[in-house]
């Protein structure tokens, strides 16, 4: 059913990079022996059960814990007042220090953690948690992102930017606003260009709040140690957790040890800091290991993907060239900022799309609301933007009577031309991805339109993303005296195959088999700093650091040979080198690599930068669909996903990343939606929140990585994990219009939405409810 045509990509000289190496941890995963953090049990460990807010916005008047404390087997009941004894300022977050470890004073969304019951037996903690009562004075709440931007219901009294990011500093102490960040980009003169445009098109699009639902639910286990504290956590960013915990506790970093295992999925849910501060505070208070493990339901109250509203307007000249574009994007950040303000800016600046447009005016605002917080989810905001600008692109093409692919071709952004920020495009195979996608789907071929109640259509869409910058990765490669090689890196393998890809880089440089390279799991006492595993940055950033570390080790081995009087690059086995040097099997060679790309922060007033990102990711999707005109059901019969991933390090892993990303976005397109009733999520379970099953995917799925090279990447490679999410949603909406002539502008595309649109178009609208 799946046809893959990863174009022939080069195998590097030592046969490691470019080879479809099965994941190094394959055997552990198929035998059930993978040691997820989920499996960890420590002597004396207490289980934590969180008591959550039942109101969307309210002042906490009292927390009644006596009844719960009296339950036999309960160790303690903890509130924020208890935590203040060890962490006087218990507020965390990567962009803003706005999130309390447990609610204090106020609650800002339904599901917010208010108190915790600790017990040896998790069932007792569960039972006792139900006995904790909280009195609230309810306050008015605000849920919609556009409304919240100007509402006088304020989620926070003042803005508290973290200070980590220079471009957030101006927000410090700002009062009476829900806007956590307002990014603006001004290129040329959009208003003047609209005035002279032959056609002007304006549309509104929305996306819904969704959740990552990683299958290993979020978990952190904290353990007091003689040095201080060890946190075992299913985290995508162990280095960040350590730094943030050190700040909260006012400890030096080296007293805190953060360890991760392989993660049972992440997708952005396990980024920055989530349960770690709570687990750490509880462990320090109790003097015992504490396990904070969420259920699938609780994940919906912890982190989500931004709902958005996007108003987009374009001016087009008589030849079909887009000469002006205005974008206004509102990001529904929920009650706490998490990384939302970064999403707003770092993705926001691409909101005008992968097109060559001289005049762009763009505003992108992060807005606090009384919903569960939103952060990064596979694409860092890009899929929400592409949904709007590629739906809009199709509407323009139809509006001016031009073929949608031809219209894109005419306006596409090519290498050597400036992006809206002013950065000159480089190693961005946007035209190639568009052409290959059109070719694979057979855009120029005749297409059967269906008969009777089944109508067929096809659609195409393309999007792009800038890598988040500036970020740092550090790696260590150790060559032992027997020649075996170990890699120390804090990149977290959550399923994307990074351990394998990094091992391939080491193996290629040192000319050893990949399968023999040991990759040490992230452990901040052992593995060096890495910013985080996010935004498809690891292949490029950590990949470069690993390559440098391996090359450093190789250089040192060569120096050792020279020192021993052997000709450089002689093929003497490595173990013989060490034996010769030490007279026995002893010693090691350590290679170190550190990588940070150059970057220039966008100007505060214009949003412009001539070096806004180290690399671009490109993804396009084309689909063939069938619409049941009696019910609005849409069946995707064929899906083609084409990406620019540079040169794949591991073609098999790349293929799975492409199809997997597209399938995830298919869920966000067709079925997934967090239903909210007065701020309460009413479908926080897989029974009622429907992710795609094996019956929901297209019978034909095709993946392709175009022939491309990221010249600054390791062996020509760059990020892979998100690119295939970009085009999925608008490609499907475009195909629906192709099939039945109606346009859906809100996600998810339910059968009812399609059916209603058809009835409205036929002038026989279906009554509301």
């Amino acid at each position: 059913m799946s046809v893959t045509q990863l174009k022939t990509h080069p195998l590097m000289p030592n046969g490691q990079v470019g080879r479809a190496v099965p994941r190094l941890e394959s055997l552990a995963k198929v035998t059930g022996r993978e040691d997820y953090t989920h499996n960890l049990r420590l002597p004396g460990m207490l289980h934590a059960k969180i008591v959550r807010s039942t109101v969307a916005h309210g002042r906490i008047l009292a927390i009644h814990t006596e009844e719960a404390k009296a339950v036999e087997g309960v160790h303690s009941v903890v509130t924020c007042e208890d935590i203040r004894a060890i962490i006087p300022e218990p507020f965390f977050g990567p962009a803003f220090h706005d999130q309390p470890i447990l609610a204090t004073g106020k609650v800002r969304y339904v599901g917010e953690a208010v108190a915790v019951v600790l017990a040896r037996d998790p069932h007792i903690a569960d039972a006792a948690a139900q006995l904790v009562r909280v009195d609230y004075e309810e306050l008015p709440a605000v849920y919609d992102e556009v409304e919240a931007a100007t509402s006088n219901v304020y989620v926070h009294e003042t803005l508290k930017p973290a200070g980590t990011f220079p471009d957030l500093k101006h927000l410090e102490g700002k009062r009476d606003t829900n806007v956590a960040l307002d990014y603006r980009l001004i290129r040329g003169d959009a208003e003047a260009a609209f005035a002279r445009a032959a056609h002007v098109f304006a549309h509104d699009f929305t996306t819904q709040q969704v959740m990552h639902t990683p299958f290993e639910p979020m978990i952190s286990v904290a353990e007091p140690t003689s040095a201080g504290l060890t946190i075992h956590t299913a985290s995508q960013s162990p280095s960040f957790v350590r730094i943030e915990m050190a700040r909260l506790l006012k400890w030096p970093e080296n007293r805190i040890r953060v360890k991760t295992s392989h993660l049972g999925g992440g997708f952005g849910a396990k980024l920055y800091i989530k349960l770690e501060a709570l687990a750490a505070a509880l462990a320090l208070l109790a003097g015992l290991p504490v396990r904070v493990a969420l259920t699938m339901e609780e994940q919906f109250y912890t982190i989500t993907k931004h709902a958005t509203t996007f108003r987009i307007k374009s001016g087009v000249d008589a030849d079909g060239k887009v000469i002006a574009r205005r974008c206004d994007v509102w990001w529904n950040g929920g009650a706490y900022a998490d990384i939302g303000p970064r999403v707003t800016q770092k993705s926001g600046f691409t909101a005008a799309g992968p097109y060559d447009i001289d005049n762009v005016y763009l505003e992108s605002v992060a807005v606090y609301t009384n919903r569960p917080p939103a952060g990064a989810l596979r694409g860092f905001g890009i899929p929400q933007l592409v949904w709007a600008y590629e739906s809009h692109t199709d509407l323009i093409a139809r509006g001016i009577g031009m073929d949608p692919v031809e219209f894109r071709r005419k306006n596409i952004l090519r290498d050597g031309r400036p992006h809206a920020t002013g950065t000159i495009m480089q190693d961005a195979a946007i035209p190639e991805v568009l052409e290959r996608t059109a070719e694979r789907i057979g855009w120029d071929q005749p297409f059967a339109r269906g008969t009777g109640t089944i109508r067929r259509g096809r659609g195409i869409a393309i999007g792009f993303k800038a890598s988040i910058s500036p970020t740092t990765s550090v790696a260590i490669v150790n060559v032992s005296a027997d020649g075996s090689v170990t890699l120390y890196s804090s990149t977290v393998d959550m399923g994307q195959g990074s351990d394998t890809a990094m091992a391939q880089i080491v193996a290629e440089v040192l000319n050893v088999p990949t399968e023999g390279v040991c990759v040490v799991r992230p452990d901040t006492d052992v593995t060096p700093y890495d910013m985080a595993t996010l935004g498809s940055r690891s292949t490029f950033h950590m990949g470069n650091a690993v390559r440098l570390a391996a090359e450093d080790a190789k250089t040192k081995l060569d120096q050792l040979a020279t020192e021993l009087g052997l000709p450089a690059r002689s093929n003497i086995p490595v173990d013989q080198l060490f034996k010769k040097k030490y007279g026995m099997q002893a010693g090691n060679v350590i290679g170190i690599g550190s990588f940070i790309p150059s970057y220039k922060s966008p100007d505060h007033d214009t949003g412009l930068s001539d070096n806004v990102t180290p690399f671009w990711m490109i993804g396009a999707t084309a689909v063939e669909i069938e619409v049941d005109t009696e019910t609005g059901h849409v069946t995707i019969t064929r899906m083609v996903n084409v990406c620019d991933v540079g040169t794949p390090l591991n073609p098999k892993v790349v293929e799975t990343q492409i199809s997997g990303a597209a399938i995830m976005q298919l869920g966000f397109t067709m079925s997934e939606k967090m239903e909210l009733d007065a701020g309460q999520v009413t479908n926080a379970s897989l029974a009622d929140y429907k992710i795609p099953s094996i019956l929901d995917i297209p019978h034909l799925m095709e993946s392709e990585a175009v022939v491309a090279t990221q010249h600054s990447g390791p062996f020509g490679a760059k990020g892979v994990g998100e690119s295939a999410t970009f085009g999925v949603s608008p490609a499907i909406a475009n195909a629906i219009e192709d099939a039945v002539g109606v346009r859906v502008t809100a996600l998810p595309i339910t059968p009812e939405a399609v059916y209603r649109a058809m009835r409205a178009a036929a002038n026989t609208p279906l009554e509301d409810f």
């Binding site: 059913m1 799946s2 479809a20 099965p22 994941r23 941890e25 394959s26 055997l27 552990a28 995963k29 198929v30 035998t31 059930g32 022996r33 993978e34 040691d35 997820y36 989920h38 499996n39 049990r41 037996d121 069932h123 639902t213 990683p214 299958f215 290993e216 639910p217 392989h262 993660l263 049972g264 999925g265 997708f267 259920t295 699938m296 339901e297 959550m494 399923g495 994307q496 195959g497 098999k652 892993v653 293929e655 799975t656 990343q657 199809s659 997997g660 990303a661 399938i663 995830m664 298919l666 379970s685 897989l686 029974a687 992710i691 795609p692 099953s693 094996i694 019956l695 995917i697 019978h699």
Partner: protein, 165 residues
């Protein structure tokens, strides 16, 4: 805990006993008493299949199965499939087809596939999809899973033919 009782059953071919309370699930029992983590709780509702084990030969959701009900049964978990470090045909097919990413759902898919191929040695794609529709993979490796099941079916047929000849 009140009302602990002792149950006896066969776990991966060995007779075992355990002390359980009525509200303990099979997942808890396997993890806490036997150190078997291949069946794991994710959705907690029997929908994702991460907790799949076989009871008397039939796959069940161990997160919805009370441990006390194992009395007298035969329980098989994913840990028993590989013999002497050699993966089963199905496990090997999953590795070769690259049919997982994070791996959290993988034991469940493998346990289901083992049973599918016992019942239907030569399943068509439609049957594979229906049989596995109660297992979810958030990484979206479904295309590779279908390929893995087909590969395993071919290898099992070949192995049967070899035995027969």
């Amino acid at each position: 805990m009140a009302d602990l009782r002792t149950i006896s059953f066969t776990l991966n071919g060995r007779p075992v006993t355990a002390r359980v309370a009525p509200h303990h699930s099979v997942v808890e029992l396997l993890q806490n008493e036997f150190g078997l983590f291949g069946a794991r709780e994710s959705c907690g509702q029997g929908l994702c299949g991460c907790c799949t084990v076989k009871v008397d030969g039939d796959p069940v959701s161990a997160c919805l199965f009370l441990a006390v009900f194992l009395e007298g049964t035969r329980v098989d978990t994913v840990e028993a499939l590989a013999k002497g470090g050699v993966p089963s045909i199905v496990q090997q097919a999953f590795i070769e087809a690259g049919a997982f990413q994070c791996g959290f759902c993988t034991p469940g898919f493998i346990m289901m596939t083992e049973r599918l191929l016992e019942e239907h040695p030569d399943p068509d794609e439609d049957l594979i999809r229906h049989y596995l529709s109660g297992n979810l993979c958030r990484c979206g490796t479904y295309p590779e899973i279908i390929a893995a099941v087909q590969l395993a079916a071919r290898r099992r047929s070949a192995a049967r033919l070899d035995k027969a000849s």
